[in-house]
Point group: C2
Chain length 311, copies 2
DNA sequence: GTCATTTGATTGACTTTGTCAACAAACTAT
DNA sequence: ATAGTTTGTTGACAAAGTCAATCAAATGAC
């Protein structure tokens, strides 16, 4: 078998394994829900009605993947229990618009609270970090299996936290090795600079921003004081898998804004000519190329560039 | 609301969202399975019997979370269809040992193949990388929700590769912050040392070892030349979740062996008295405490220690 | 050894859940 | 106007699952 074939087989086994595991997990969760007086299907209906504004029976049936006949009977039962209100639709005489009555909303709130609490109890022992890795992993699964719903995936730009810097070093080292063949000294170079930054940066005049998506660090940039009213932008990096979302531009803009607010008069940065996508970001932000020089670093012959921006 | 409270709420919402999504996803998968002549429950029984060697009805009922009465009826049906064989248990006269007959194994193979193909079709469009991120995310979820299944998988000690150093920095920074409350300068300290090492280490006389488990870096140590025939062991670290496997001892032993082979006359290391588990490893390896001094670093008052070992 | 208790498997009697076909009323397209 | 859809409903069933009772074998206390 080919090596990719091998990996494919392992992936299939992994997914099947997870599916069996998660089937049991969801089963256990639903058992908790069964302590409520409503059946699973009824709960799902209540949930759907509780979170959407107005739905018709046919929409419900489509969205819950439920048989219309069965749904009709369940709705009848819920109407008789005064939990659900049905009114004829204005646009379509056949359709009935469904909504929750006051006691229905109460029932929904109870269900919602119970479910919320159940999940909360599961997350508690994981701690905040464990919980966010968990949720990040879930988002990644969803993004993989259902690309349509996550077309506009959110990311946040935030200040760095403990542990971020190492990730930034690792990813940059691996990335430039893979894309441009730079050797291990590049990772060392980044580590030394970033380490020096951490040890002695001035929070009022210097800063590191991190882009995070799905609980993963996917980009970063540093702004340091170069003296003489000049701020230096360093080590801009965006994970290739997230390119095209404008993360690089956002990071650079954060830098510029911070530099302006802090009172710097100009910004400067050093990069290499082969980093084309970074170059475009700098141009767009208003930077001008002011000097180039050849150098040999990280096992390659490179052309370094200095870019400036008057603030 | 507090900031952690906020994050907790978001995590809960994320998990609930994922659960709704995955319920639908699993439902869709099971529909594919329903094209087989067996019901979902029957399929689950066949699957369980097909993958395990011998099971009793009560074990099955416990593992599948199925009512014994219902299971009994399903088994009767499967026995009548000649798919399942039942024989009295040798140890327990009440229990019946279940297994698949020849046609039963065939039926299982068909089910298995169908499920395999279904997953394969889902993974295909993701490509090998997409598939392995997916499976990785699933494993992380499982590890978070079901820590018991963490068996005792082997680890390997190997030289560092590009990207490892950043991970080492990140994990150490996060770990010492969490366990001892050290501030961000510690991550910077580690980054600077590790970065300097990468930039200019002599591969013949200096080395970094990494412990890897589950394709994850879980420990590391550096050995550097301190001059005058002395080798310095630096930054020993083992991920707490893997403690007790002897990884720390293995790493230190690698260092000692390398130092001997390289012709160093003695080894030295610097650590802090609060790192008790590291201290035990050094003692066991033959190191002697030679000096202690108080210092203020990483936001804490600490007691530094020097340990020596004659080779 | 005996006797009460527990455990494994089964059965009868039942409820809940879900499916299928048929149908009327309302809508759409021509 | 009319043929064809769509929406919601009902009857008739089938499948899935539950609960209490039962029996036989095993276990534990004495």
């Amino acid at each position: 078998m080919t090596q990719t074939g091998q990996r494919h087989e392992e992936a299939i086994a992994g997914v099947r394994d997870f599916n069996r595991f998660y089937t049991r997990f969801l089963g256990a969760l639903n058992e908790g829900l069964l302590r409520s007086p409503y059946s699973l299907s009824e709960s799902r209906i209540l949930y759907e009605l509780g979170t959407r504004h107005s739905v018709t029976a046919s929409q419900l049936s489509a969205e819950l993947g439920m048989d219309p006949a069965y749904l009709s009977r369940l709705l009848k039962k819920l109407r008789e229990a005064d939990l659900v209100l049905a009114s004829a639709s204005a646009e379509d005489g056949r359709a009935t618009v469904l909504s929750l009555s006051k006691p229905g909303r109460e029932a929904f709130a109870n269900l919602d609270r119970a479910s919320h609490e159940e999940i909360s109890n599961i997350l508690m022992p994981l701690g905040p970090d464990g919980a966010s890795t968990l949720v990040g992993a879930m988002q990644r699964i969803r993004a993989a299996l259902d690309p349509s719903t996550t077309e506009n995936p959110p990311y946040v730009i935030r200040p760095h936290r403990i542990g971020d810097i190492g990730i930034i070093i690792s990813r940059q080292g691996a990335l430039y090795a893979q894309e441009y063949g730079w050797d291990g000294t590049f990772e060392g170079f980044v580590a030394e600079i970033a380490g020096g930054f951490l040890k002695s940066y001035d929070p009022k005049r210097e800063h590191c921003w991190v882009a995070e998506r799905h609980a993963e660090v996917v980009g970063s940039v540093f702004l340091v004081d170069a003296g003489g009213g000049t701020a230096k932008l360093r080590m801009l990096w965006v994970e290739p898998s997230t390119r095209g979302l404008g993360i690089g531009g956002r990071l650079v803009n954060e830098c510029i804004r911070f530099a302006r607010d802090t009172g710097y008069e100009r910004m400067t940065l050093w990069t290499n000519d082969i980093l084309v996508s970074a170059r475009r970001i700098y141009e767009k932000a208003g930077f001008r190329l002011v000097a180039e020089e050849r150098h040999h670093s990280f096992g390659k012959d490179l052309v370094g560039q200095n870019w400036d921006l008057e603030l």
